[in-house]
Symmetry: C2
Subunit: 357 residues, 2 copies
Amino acid sequence: MEASVEDKKKIILVHYTEIENFILQVLLKNGVDESVAKHVAQGLVQASLRGVDSHGIRLFPHYVRAMKAGRINSKPNFQFDQTSPSTGILDADDTFGHAAGMEAVSKAIELAKSAGSANISVKKSTHFGAAAFYALEIAKHDMIGMSFTHADSLMLSSNGNRPYFGTNPICIAVPCEGEEPFCLDMATTTISFNAVLQHREDKKDVPVGTCADSEGNPTIDSAKASFLQPIGQYKGFGLGMMVEILCGVLSGMPFGRDIVSMYKHPIEQKRNLGHFFSAMRIDCFQDVKYFKKRMRIMMDEIRNEPRKNSDIPVMVPNDPEKKALARRSKEGIPVKAADWEAFLKLSQQYKVELKGI
Amino acid sequence: MEASVEDKKKIILVHYTEIENFILQVLLKNGVDESVAKHVAQGLVQASLRGVDSHGIRLFPHYVRAMKAGRINSKPNFQFDQTSPSTGILDADDTFGHAAGMEAVSKAIELAKSAGSANISVKKSTHFGAAAFYALEIAKHDMIGMSFTHADSLMLSSNGNRPYFGTNPICIAVPCEGEEPFCLDMATTTISFNAVLQHREDKKDVPVGTCADSEGNPTIDSAKASFLQPIGQYKGFGLGMMVEILCGVLSGMPFGRDIVSMYKHPIEQKRNLGHFFSAMRIDCFQDVKYFKKRMRIMMDEIRNEPRKNSDIPVMVPNDPEKKALARRSKEGIPVKAADWEAFLKLSQQYKVELKGI
């Protein structure tokens, strides 16, 4: 029997430990290296817990398909080349982006410990999910963490009628006294394409000024939305280029329109993505306690700034994600019926139990 | 006799060597250290040559006033503390931001040579003009250069009715085969306040979506424009916070609404600004020649992307500035009558000759 529209709108709640273990076990049954599988499970679940559904657990069935098709290598042979006291290059051997990123992060932290700061270029990687996963890990070590990735062409070029750059996100995480780190994780486009796909699934319009159709004309119709507008027009286009240089040109990977698309290219095709990570020890600039105290003061000041509309506070980046994290850790992660069905198929296929709350 | 409106609109052209020497000589007659004076003259003239009039020679009379009032120290005692192989802190002793920035850049380059990359925090500085001046200098050494500064509150907070952050620019410069480096130098607001002041002088409206009045409501009236909108709303606000953390919190300088304004506070008050500079050797990641070749390919590809409007090309950041540089180097820098008058006053006061073309 065909599921009704009502059924399709149904939301299943799943506890984060349940879905994390499910992802882990499915990957292990597919022969994925345990440390690789752990990073994928943790990264996807962290994004969902933080309310970033577009980059969370819903991507897992796609990742499994990409692995089975040969795009993603389940048993990577990482090769790290330290090229100076503070720099290095990681060849990720086409594995899951989450594992590539976390391997690079561990190198960045290690090098920064001795050199004060470190910059790591990653080549031969795949989709790494939410950039915050990596910067937040660096911030745990009293360092300022930054993470970047390029992506396939989706940003409508400034003055152009088609995209050259991808959504190319910028992410920074900074430790703070008394709460989880400050974290900015933003696409340089006004919206991410995974968010457009969600609007499309929900048959909702996209916000004004965020998208263009396949001719490069503005649209709010999520079904027609093909390209994404850069933030601040030529400025977002410039930021996208900055990220492309750090991730594509510096790593020796393809750039611009030559990048293999997540969804449009045959799924067996390798993506050859590049990432860039930076770690900087706070104690090389300030007493760590004093620095974190000042972060605390700044964040309190911002949240207490007078409001334009008394119902909507001035927020610090990451505030909505922190709220979601607190709520979803207790109440569970909401999963759409279609995604849940895809999980259940994997559950049957690999004989890994999965239960909602 | 009062100058007529026609006279006030008059543009004087001045050769860049003439105005650079004029600035240098006026500073030297004021007892400014020669190396400091050179950086100020070169920085202001470079901005004007590149068409960035808001950050160019027109600021010079203000700088002289600030120096004479005691805000800016003409004979700094720089103190540099190298805190690790790749990091350091420069105390700029309240001197001209241009000199502080170039001193920090020389340290960044030196440290990056041995450590692969370097990050320098600057404290006790003043207005440093255009951020491109510093990143471009780093790029001359086959490194990727980045420069940041915070500034006094001007960006309307996302969901707020007044500003907390300044225009807080982001700048990156990257070497390229066959032409001057790629350079992105952008305020995280939609427009800079010096650009608003220029619109006000010219009695022109500011572009839609760029400004708000003193109540936080959108306006295009340059006379009423008090606050600047962030690019991409909460995203630009987040980028402004990133820059504030790197420049204000990391350096131990004041941040947010505590920063002394360029124009509103008494001019004798010290500004205590912070900057942040980063240098990264390209050869730690790629063969330099291969990297520059790929930059060349990317820039050519972007400029050849299909256009939305056949008259307006898709541009790479810095293309308009490169055009201006070529034209103004030959034809001279255009100076408004009011600015020229201010220069002539300094010319008489300090007996330094100044002639238009």
